[in-house]
């Protein structure tokens, strides 16, 4: 298994290590629920260096990314970020990604760990006429990546940077030094809490990790692992590649039409996606909650009376809602909010109903 630059830090904190896409990653430190609640109440620090980071630069970068991604990169201002997808010609999702625009012709793509090799190969393969004017560089090893997430993230980080973090709006980026280390700080995340991601030179990431952990002691910061991360993202209905998105599901079926731009010109997968929008997809991803206490899991079948209508792609028991929640693809007739169907959990049918996202809506702070 591959180790991130913070592997020793995780072992020193007695993390339970699991294999995630070939990486030895912390599943949990103090416990999944403890870390989950810390992120909802104070803050958590995640090592997400296993993710892939591809740098794309040159006069050909914009036309190239317009063709290989579904969203419109021209709508990203410099030092802005955008959620997007990379599709195959059949409209299936090769990966869901974050695109950071670092300059007029300079981009950083954050891709899923499990898809890095595939996406890097695909991008090289898809270079057309732009090849001469395009440089694609895999920076996954030289850059590490942290996610500082939770309501106290801003106060915690502010003490370590010069710029005012009040000015850093959602999906905006900033170059800063933290403890003398050059970082790209982005206001993004995968938890539904306010927070930041930090792209840091791998060689120096331990300094930044230690400094934040140290500073976080007074804020209730905890190191948080992949277990908490998965529960946090599911509460929000954020998609997980490999579960909710695959090469055979499209962004339209996944209710991610908002990351597809049909007015930017041609892109890979466009004809299929256009047709799906016009005709309506035959199945769609829905969010559901169970009406009895039980835990839906990936791959469990969904039924309307005795008719199989789909499959669970993600599911768990939400710690804040204390309800079984999940997502799954179902036939289009069953996607309306309030629609009832059953999840088959080990041979037993448990009633569920379709709900809107997010599952968890953060209570407004008292005025």
């Amino acid at each position: 298994m591959k180790h991130t630059s913070l592997y020793e830090a995780h072992v020193a904190r007695k993390a339970k290590i699991v294999d995630f896409a070939g990486w030895a990653m912390p599943l949990q430190y103090s416990g999944v629920l403890d870390e989950y609640h810390a992120v909802r109440a104070t803050a958590g620090l995640f090592d997400v260096s296993h993710m892939g980071r591809l740098h794309v630069e040159g006069p050909g970068a914009v036309p190239f990314l317009q063709r290989v991604t579904t969203n419109d990169v021209q709508r990203i201002e410099p030092m802005g970020a955008q959620y997007s997808m990379i599709c195959n010609p059949e409209g299936g999702v090769k990966d869901d990604i974050f695109v950071y625009r670092l300059g007029a012709e300079e981009f950083l793509l954050c891709v899923n760990a499990s898809n890095l090799d595939k996406i890097r190969g695909w991008l090289f393969q898809q270079q057309g006429d732009e090849q001469e004017e395009l440089r694609i560089e895999d920076q996954s090893e030289e850059l590490a990546q942290l996610a500082l997430q939770g309501p106290v993230s801003k106060s915690l980080l502010q003490a370590h940077v010069q710029s005012s973090l009040d000015e850093l709006k959602p999906r905006r980026c900033l170059r800063e030094t933290v403890g003398g280390v050059e970082c790209l700080i982005t206001r993004t995340g995968y938890t539904g809490e306010p927070g930041y991601e930090l792209y840091v030179p791998a060689k120096q990431v331990r300094l930044v990790w230690d400094r934040l952990m140290q500073a976080g002691q007074d804020f209730g910061l905890k190191p948080a692992g992949l277990g908490a991360r998965d529960l946090l993202r599911l509460d929000m209905g954020y998609l997980l590649y490999g579960n909710d998105l695959t090469e055979t599901t499209t962004p339209i079926e996944a209710n991610a039409k908002w990351v597809v731009s049909f007015d930017k010109g041609a892109f890979i997968g466009e004809p299929v996606l256009k047709r799906q929008v016009r005709e309506g997809p035959s199945r769609r991803l829905v969010a559901f909650e169970l009406l009895e206490k039980a835990v839906p899991r990936h791959d469990m079948p969904l039924f309307a009376q005795d008719k199989p209508i789909g499959t669970v792609t993600s599911g768990n028991l939400s710690p804040v809602l204390q309800k079984g929640i999940g997502m799954g693809y179902v036939e289009s007739a069953y996607t309306e909010t309030g629609t009832a169907f059953d999840v088959e959990i080990r041979g037993k049918r448990v009633p569920a109903r379709v709900v809107g996202l997010p599952f968890y809506k953060k209570p407004r702070p008292p005025a």
Partner: protein, 130 residues
């Protein structure tokens, strides 16, 4: 790590423990099992009066990570279940041999208990598994 393995209990290969008390046993999961499962969020308890044979699946323990089946190490009838686990599944993690008990079973064949591992055998079993 093998966790705590109290001397006075008997253990099953699926990591349940039983405490013998006359013609009945109390059932739970071992410290090793709760640690491997991680945070328990829901226990699908067996129903009182269920009759079962040894090694039969009688319930489920759901953690934040996965689902794991609960087996009865003995034949008999469920005469009591720990309803407190509905609201406090975390008792399985915090006190697996105490407040985290799962059910009480009236034994059909008291000799079933003799077939289970002793504490030292279970400890050996765990080290052979790792």
């Amino acid at each position: 790590m093998s966790g705590l393995i109290p001397e006075d209990l008997r253990y099953h290969k699926e990591h349940e423990w039983v405490r013998l008390d006359g013609q009945k046993v109390t059932l739970g999961i071992s410290d090793f099992a709760q640690d491997a499962l991680g945070d328990v969020v829901f226990v699908d308890l067996p129903k009182v009066d269920t009759e079962m044979t040894a090694n039969q699946e009688i319930g489920e323990v759901e953690s934040t990570k996965a689902t794991s089946s609960l087996y009865s190490p003995v034949s008999g009838k469920i005469i009591e279940v720990n309803d407190e686990l509905q609201d406090h599944p975390e008792y399985l993690n915090r006190d697996p041999y105490g407040k985290g008990w799962i059910a009480v079973i009236e034994l059909a064949n008291p000799v079933d208990v003799d077939a289970l591992m002793t504490a030292s055998q279970y400890e050996e079993f765990l080290s052979s598994q790792s």
